[in-house]
Symmetry: C2
Subunit: 405 residues, 2 copies
């Protein structure tokens, strides 16, 4: 598998995209995108588990059942959440209008929205956006689409990989957005993946679910699960590999590439969390079970006290121990090692539950880097997990604690 | 039941206390307290559920089994957590030294510590503190003790109530501390309650557990459960009421007063959360079950996005709906009403899941008050719950994100 940095989603065969300004955002930034597969494609998706689900999520949960999915219409600037029956009607209108222009059935179109909750969708702007977007679809539009789905993201998140499956080059391109706001508002995680792999809908769905669990689901910026979180993958088969219909070697190879893509985007989302100055990765080794490992990793990167300590460059291992202790996971405090990764080595600051005689200034400098890697050994079993988060800063409070009438 | 504002714990019959500077805190503030009952007393306690438990918590879990408990030794400035066998030895030494001077058995003494994790206890200072504290015990020492247990608390937390049980005046006095730090550090909740009620140890324990659940356990400042959290109640029987040995009317009256005391201290702790500018109370009405009500109330006041919105005075109900939705509680988003309490009335901002036509500026002003009361009706059953938190501010980041080598 290789990473191709200069390529994006529209470098996948038969994939077109567009990204532009429709006028939804007060800032005047790009706010509308369409991703389109000229060829028929199978799709899989995972949606927020929040009981308060945005209208497009509710609609997509039905549309994803379609055997064919060829378009995704995306807007930023309005979440279309808590808008009741009208919201659902608006989401359906978005799918229908795009379907008409693209000569598809409405259920072959998915819709994603992100922005403030509880604001009616300005359907005149949305409808004009759909017309414009369908007209502007091109093989060069991937970069614009990556920009158009951003809210307070400070950089577009994109990844492209190639692998060989059954003698054919298979590509996966993906874009994502992390937490952001337009007004002081709700952040949302959206991810859109396109691939030319030839695969059954069932196995595409299986691969997505398996890889989402260890990637996006291991990210926390602030512990708040959005009403709109969505990850969609479209596979149009243009790579012409022998169709993957069982969990064979080809499937594992595709899944591996998909996992890489999802973890890469997950890390980028964590790194670009609201107000963040650094990425925090927490890797757990030798936990009693997968669940214990995952619970510990997420507890550390979710703790406000740990996050604030890392903002200050403070190797406050007591807070890490504490967050492990209240996580609910099985562990023995007196067996825990904690360290920070510095290139090839791990600088241990806790061994068997006690502080080592570490160099405070050296570790302070390690924690001040853009990316901080915490390494925790529970010595309790063989399971491991990795989670990604960011520091808690004045910037987070400023972004989310500023009020404009 | 009446609140007596001018009284404190040492106004309970046969209760003495001391609070003073032992030299544990670099700031030179009071850091050592002893509470002592001249009469034999029964005790009950609840401790942190964190798997990483401080040494005094581990020791107290044994000592609390004693039929008699007459003294509590408390230090701030060092948590005595993650100090291994030496930490436990030090906690035992603290109990033993105090017991010797006060002519008690070691197991009749409890110990509480709060401060930075993983720093060895300076036992010379501690031992001198015990000698001094035992010598200075007095019927006027309650106020000093309330001060000595503070860390970054901005005001001492104290409450005193009187009620009549079996024709006798029964008093309950209590002091507590909330989240704080000496260095950028771990916050800890400590609460110490003394009462002259005559009650069996079993029922005292039952009353404490029942009331802790709806008071301290419904508070969140930052979602981090400390290694040292402890609530202890001592009952010395000096009120000479007929001993409470069953769940009769006397028991219910005592429990009611104890519940008032615990809720009062819980609110004070939330209000004085690190960096907080305002108290946030969230009351849930008509939930399907007690668990649903509690889960919803805590989810709202724990959400970083909700907390930041309240710092800015933003009635961002989308964030409240979102935090209800991901709480895991049973609810129907389309039935939810959300409002803010303004004196006798509730200003509804959401009705059946949708925004009402509320006056934005009026609600903005309500949210800018020192105490903000959110009122949520789930219309799903008959259960209710109340939780207390505070806003998320630049101050929290400053307190916890500043590093000194």
């Amino acid at each position: 598998m290789k990473i191709v940095t200069e390529k994006t989603i529209t470098d996948i065969k038969n994939i077109k995209a567009a990204g532009f300004i429709s006028g939804l955002k007060k800032s005047g930034k790009k706010d509308f995108a369409i991703i389109y597969s000229e060829k028929e494609a199978v799709a899989a998706a995972t949606f927020t588990k929040n009981k308060v689900k945005a209208a497009p999520v509710l609609m997509d949960m039905e549309h994803i059942k379609s055997e064919n999915t060829q378009a995704i219409v995306i807007n930023s600037g309005n979440a279309n959440a808590c808008n009741g029956a009208q919201g659902l009607e608006d989401a359906k209108t978005m799918a229908k209008e795009a379907a008409t222009i693209l000569n598809l059935k409405p259920e072959e179109v998915l819709v994603s929205s992100t922005g403030r909750i509880g604001v009616p969708m300005p359907m005149d702007i949305i409808k004009a956006g759909i017309v414009k977007g369908c007209a502007e679809l091109s093989y060069q539009g991937g970069g614009d689409a990556a920009e158009a789905i951003m809210t307070t993201d400070t950089f577009p998140k994109s990844i492209f990989v190639e692998t060989e499956i059954g003698g054919k080059v298979v590509s996966i391109g993906a874009i994502a957005k992390g937490s952001g706001m337009i007004h002081p508002d709700m952040g949302t995680m959206l991810g859109f993946i396109v691939t030319d792999v030839n695969i059954s809908k069932e196995l595409l769905s299986k691969a997505l679910k398996a890889t989402v669990n260890d990637s996006y689901n291991m990210v926390s910026v602030d512990g708040d699960t959005s009403t709109n979180d969505t990850v969609i993958v479209l596979a149009n088969g243009a790579a012409e590999n022998t169709k993957i219909t069982e969990e064979n070697e080809d499937y594992l190879k595709f899944k591996e590439a998909l996992e890489f893509v999802n973890k890469d985007l997950a890390k980028k989302i964590a790194k670009d969390g609201e107000g963040a100055t650094r990425l925090i990765q927490c890797e757990i080794h030798n936990a009693a079970s997968d669940l214990d490992a995952r619970t510990c990793a997420k507890s550390v990167i979710t703790s406000s006290l740990v996050k604030a300590a890392f903002f200050g460059g403070d190797a406050n291992w007591g807070r890490i121990m504490c967050s492990l202790g209240y996580s609910g996971a099985n562990l023995d405090p007196n067996k825990i090692d904690i360290g920070f990764v510095d290139g090839d080595r791990v600088v241990k600051i806790v061994e068997n539950g006690f502080e080592t005689n570490f160099d405070k200034e050296e570790v302070h400098q390690i924690i001040l880097r853009d990316e901080v890697y915490i390494d925790i050994d529970l010595k309790d079993g063989k399971a491991g997990a990795v989670a990604w988060g960011c520091d808690l800063t004045y910037g987070y409070v400023e972004i989310n604690g500023t009020y404009e009438l």
